[in-house]
């Protein structure tokens, strides 16, 4: 598959702190990539740079052959990269239905700024209905987002990112804060929706079972560097990864 996203020699420092050191990654279209690493290893910094929230100290990011390094989050979203958040970022006073409608509405009213693939197939309302079904949110349709249980908030957060039909989806810890028995249900739902829309997915995760089950490729971060890059089994079994990321306990598996 062609490369859809490429990070070239990315560096980011905040004064004396190095958040990213010489990151080189080429992500293939339609792949599902997991980003692992302990807190502060640089995973979120990487996502923040890809989505334009942070500018790298040096290096460049290419999306579909185009340099997106200097662009703002808004512009990058319009090109087709969208993210979800570790702490769900919702419109708390709007209903679940309207939370999604806002996203679809932005695309519809945005005109030629958006890629044609981002536009909904039918009317905005039809698109929202479809998403409510796909993400199991239909029963919460008229509830204000602020009163939803945590797992549903996470689902809505991800659904909103999908509402603009991105080519690349970045999920920041999609199952954090979700109870153990709900995690797989959530990821199944997300992955089904992703597959239906042909999206390239990168997600940050701390739960190695989730990483093992849903990813095709894993990037392990440590102190701003990528210390391992490959198939889940290989990366999770790697000695350095065991030492710095997952801990030896998992070696027992």
């Amino acid at each position: 598959m062609p490369v859809v996203l490429e990070a070239k020699a990315l560096n980011k420092s905040f004064g004396a702190v190095t958040a990213a050191a010489d990151i080189n990654v080429a992500v293939e279209q339609d792949s599902i990539v997991g980003l692992i690493g302990s807190n502060g290893a640089g995973k979120t910094t990487f996502i923040n740079m890809v989505t334009g929230y942070l500018k790298p100290t040096s290096g460049a990011i290419d999306f579909g052959g185009r340099d997106i390094t200097p662009l703002s989050p808004r512009q990058i979203t319009r090109l087709g990269i969208c993210r979800s958040f570790q702490i769900p970022q919702l419109f708390n006073s709007l209903t679940v239905h309207d939370n999604l409608l806002v996203g679809v509405g932005i695309v519809v009213s945005g005109g030629k700024d958006w890629a044609p693939e981002s536009r909904p197939a039918g009317t905005p309302h039809e698109a929202v209905e479809g998403m409510l079904e796909r993400f199991g949110l239909a029963e919460y349709r008229n509830k204000p987002a602020g009163v939803l249980p945590e797992g549903v908030r996470k689902l809505l957060d991800i659904a909103m990112a999908m509402a603009v039909k991105p080519r690349i989806l970045l999920l920041d810890e999609p199952t954090s804060g979700v109870s153990a028995d709900e995690k797989f249900g959530l990821m199944d739902m997300v992955m089904d929706a992703v597959r239906a829309q042909k999206v390239t997915v990168l997600f940050v995760e701390h739960d190695m079972e989730i990483v093992n089950r849903y990813t095709q490729r894993v990037l392990a971060f440590y102190e701003g560097r990528i210390i391992a890059d490959g198939a889940p089994a290989a990366v999770l079994g790697d000695a350095e990864v065991r030492k710095y990321v997952t801990g030896d306990a998992l070696a027992a598996h």
Binding site: R78, S93, G105, I106, M160
Partner: protein, 313 residues
Amino acid sequence: MRRDRTPVILVAVAALLLATGPFLPRWAMFLVNVSLCYGIVVLGMMLLMRTGVVSFGHGLYYCLGAYAAGTLDQVYKVSDMAVMLVAAVIATAAVSAALGLLLRKYRDIFFAMLSLAFSMILYGLLVKTSALGSSDGFNIAAAKIAGIQVAGTAGERYVRYALTVLCALGSGAFMYRYLRSHMGRLAEAIRDNELRVEYMGASVRNVIHVNYVISAVLAGIGGALAAIAVGHIDPEMAYWTTSGEFVFVGILSGTGNILAPFLGAFIFETIRSFAYEYSPNTWQMALGITMLVVIMFLPGGLWSLFTRWRKAA
């Protein structure tokens, strides 16, 4: 889902006001007229509040609209209400489009303070402009409407009143549609979570700018209509306490429904007229206490009382 009766009520009340107008005593007609003028301004404040922004300087546009109308009469001898309204719209749209370029970068206290500063700049300008009467202002007389002479006729006062009612109807109808459109939802989304809106590809600043201009034009229309109704304008209209009154009525009304600003403005004007006559030294105190009560017990404004009764029923 309950059918929203707002458009029906809006049209019905407007029709009622137009029909009963000729039979109202002069003071009542004047009270309704001025209340509606204020209501139109507060309709704009409501839009801004829904976008998560509070302006402490909308007196700028209220005054600008009034002086646009007044200057036409005083300086250019154009005494036509319709032309005055058009002038008010153009003046406020132009100024707000320009000032909005700066203001759209601010939120919260800074937005409030900067908008206040701009209104005080206009105040200062007008107070020092002797050609416009300095701090005394001047009288204006709108003798015609769309070319038809009304001054001196029996229906003169009714025409001014009807013009205001129709403008209130029009702005109410516009705001109703606007708030239910994508832009209306986007405004509330911005109030709730600006970051997410940017991450979903929309420009928060653009929306704030657009809504700022809309609210400014509404304030200008309200100001011009008030000038026509009262017959006198002065720089006090741009003083920060006038802007404070708009904020107050906005809080009092709440942002729940487009009818709320008109109701709130009517209550405000009624209390003000009576309080002013019977106890001019406690009128502000009454305002202040009411504001505290609303903030503490009715954060959704008076309109939330209606929605609570409906839910209980």
